[in-house]
């Protein structure tokens, strides 16, 4: 006897060839779309620079966003200022829109904690240990619910990360407590070298929400329009007491996992080439071109502008003064413990001599 039935839907507005599969949603006009287009370009230029900076020894390991620009761009645009972002490590576009300038993002990946001290009082910094951000996001949402505020939380994760228990625990409490949180999965098909198919037997990642009692859906993760619309709706729902949503954004990581990775070891050129056909920027440009709001000269001007902006940010980054060694201890507690003050002295005595 069948006692329960569940379905998973898929959402798309903009097809890979740049034509619409359904009419534009009302809240995204061409101006907004152009803004998002610019943002995605900016991020792609930034990524290129970051990867180069790493190659010349001026940045640490860096995880690129190439191919996944639409997700962060949509999140950042759809969120309201007083919402809270609890990101994973591939969310530059969202972080940028919410107050983390690119030089801070570089500073973070440049091995300097001050990079996470950016101009947003409540957003979380990048979370490196996978899936912990999910449960923390539910905690932020619980605080918002306790205070009866009309705000929501967005937290992101990779499709590999959805195999972690924390992801499930976070969704379970979000469902049980009807928390205002949106879980966005960046399904970029790979967790370093492990393909999506080896990660889980499920047909979709979206259906993982069925295990926690709320709705999950798939969205074309290279379609900024669909992403924005579905995230905006999920946020509205969350802010209005409708509880959590899981959004699986289907995309592809066009770069290596990080600058320390060599994706050629584990994935084929064919697969990569195919993915380049459906990536988010080309698609939106095709749409603009068809709408005759865009042309090559506009594109060139935009790229120039982006490069200029990123140059400026890189410049700021490269000129940041080193932190004093005592920063190593001075932020551990509101007040460094009395009994450990000799450690601070040793640090002062020896710390600086080992700068490299």
């Amino acid at each position: 006897m069948t006692i329960a039935t569940f379905t998973i839907d898929y959402h798309q507005y903009l097809k890979p060839d740049g034509t619409l599969s359904q009419p534009l949603p009302k809240d995204l006009d061409h101006n907004a779309l152009l803004k998002l287009y610019r943002l995605m370009h900016l991020l792609r230029v930034f990524d290129g620079r970051a990867i180069n900076l790493q190659r010349v020894g001026k940045l640490g390991t860096y995880p690129g966003n190439i191919g996944q620009e639409a997700i962060g761009a949509a999140i950042g645009h759809a969120m309201q200022a007083d919402d809270v972002l609890v990101p994973y490590y591939r969310d530059c576009a969202a972080q940028y829109q919410r107050g983390a300038p690119f030089h801070k993002i570089l500073q973070y990946w440049g091995g300097d904690e001050r990079g996470s001290d950016f101009n947003n009082a409540e957003d979380f910094p990048i979370c490196v240990p996978i899936a912990a951000q999910s449960v923390i996001a539910s905690g932020v949402a619980a605080a918002i619910k306790y205070r009866q505020q009309k705000r929501a939380v967005v937290t992101t994760i990779g499709e590999g990360g959805t195999s972690e228990g924390d992801f499930y625990e976070a969704m379970n409490v979000a469902g049980a407590w009807n928390l205002p949180v949106v879980f966005v999965v960046n399904n970029n098909q790979w967790a370093i070298s492990v393909p999506r198919s080896a990660q889980t037997q499920t047909q979709t990642i979206a259906q993982k929400a069925i295990a926690t009692g709320f709705s999950g859906e798939q969205v074309d993760g290279n379609d900024i329009i669909a992403l924005h619309e579905r995230i905006r709706m999920a946020l509205d729902k969350a802010r209005n007491g409708g509880g959590p949503t899981l959004i699986e954004a289907i995309t592809y990581r066009l770069c290596d996992h990080t600058t320390a990775d060599d994706a050629n070891r584990y994935r084929s050129k064919e697969e990569l080439d195919m993915a380049w056909q459906v990536e988010p920027l080309v698609r939106l440009r095709a749409y603009f071109t068809a709408q005759t709001v865009w042309d090559d000269s506009k594109e060139e001007a935009l790229l120039l502008e982006c490069r200029k902006e990123i140059d400026k940010e890189v410049d700021i980054y490269l000129n940041i003064k080193p932190a004093p060694v005592t920063d190593i201890v001075d932020y551990m507690y509101a007040k460094w413990p009395e009994s450990l003050k000799d450690q601070r002295e040793t640090l002062l005595q020896f710390g600086d001599s080992h700068h490299d």
Partner: protein, 326 residues
Amino acid sequence: MTNITLLEAVTQALAYELAHDENVLVFGEDVGLNGGVFRATDGLQKRFGANRVMDTPLAESMIAGLAIGMAAQGLKPVAEFQFMGFSYPALDNILNHAARLRNRTRGRLQCPAVFRMPFGGGIHAPEHHSESTEALYAHIPGLQVVIPSSPARAYGLLLAAIRSPDPVIFLEPKRIYRLVKQDVPDNGVALPLEKAFVLREGSDLTLISWGASMHETQQAAEVLAEEGISAEIIDIASIKPLDTETILCSLNKTGRCVIVHEAAKSGGVGAEIAAQIGEKALFSLLAPIQRVTGYDSTMPYFKLEHSYIPSVARIVHAAKSTVGFS
């Protein structure tokens, strides 16, 4: 008059803070209607409502994550793990996030959370209900680890823990939850978190302990006193950070020391205390420091647990051989 047990002192402190600070939330498994399996939160949900004292789903990593997220929003979450042995699924979130949030963001975000958990053996409980692994938490920079051993200290230290801007692991020695009663006025006065307590002054040797083992340690001091040996007793109370000054002060006077703890010996907090004394007061030492501890074995099931937990006889024996050493 509030003549209460250590357990009731915990409840009293929670109630005080719930009543005086609406940012304080209490949650965990069965802490609501049931009042917790030890009744530490008895009556709190009824008094403060189910939005301030709440049962969670059964998931410890999630409990820690909730606390961290709430704390970053400026709330003061007090999360309970039902037993210390069930706190391990939360270690990742506590070590990697609670302990690091301030440092990671250079102070932009903070984690004023308290993680309460009953710990230690001796109550005839099933497996995994008797752990004393305080050393795991005490090794982690960014955490404070606090252990009361009397009703008054439970009250004062828990208030301080809740008010602390940084995360506190608050370990409750369940073996002495109901052992003695003490008059603990409900005046909201906190105790300092970084201080050890000299419970008894003495001149021949220093006995150092914390938690439930304070009980046997104090009994041992009585036995020793009868035999003319004057033991100074220190309740460490804050095992992270350690109040080294109080310890050294005593050692410089007595020159002899026995450290007592229930945890396994190797890598227990006793090692750190002994190492610090050796570092800073080596030539005050008139005898080797002895550690009377649990063995380097899993805490046995309850039929044998009292052969594991440091006994008065073992402490007295160690104290005498320390005093007799020359």
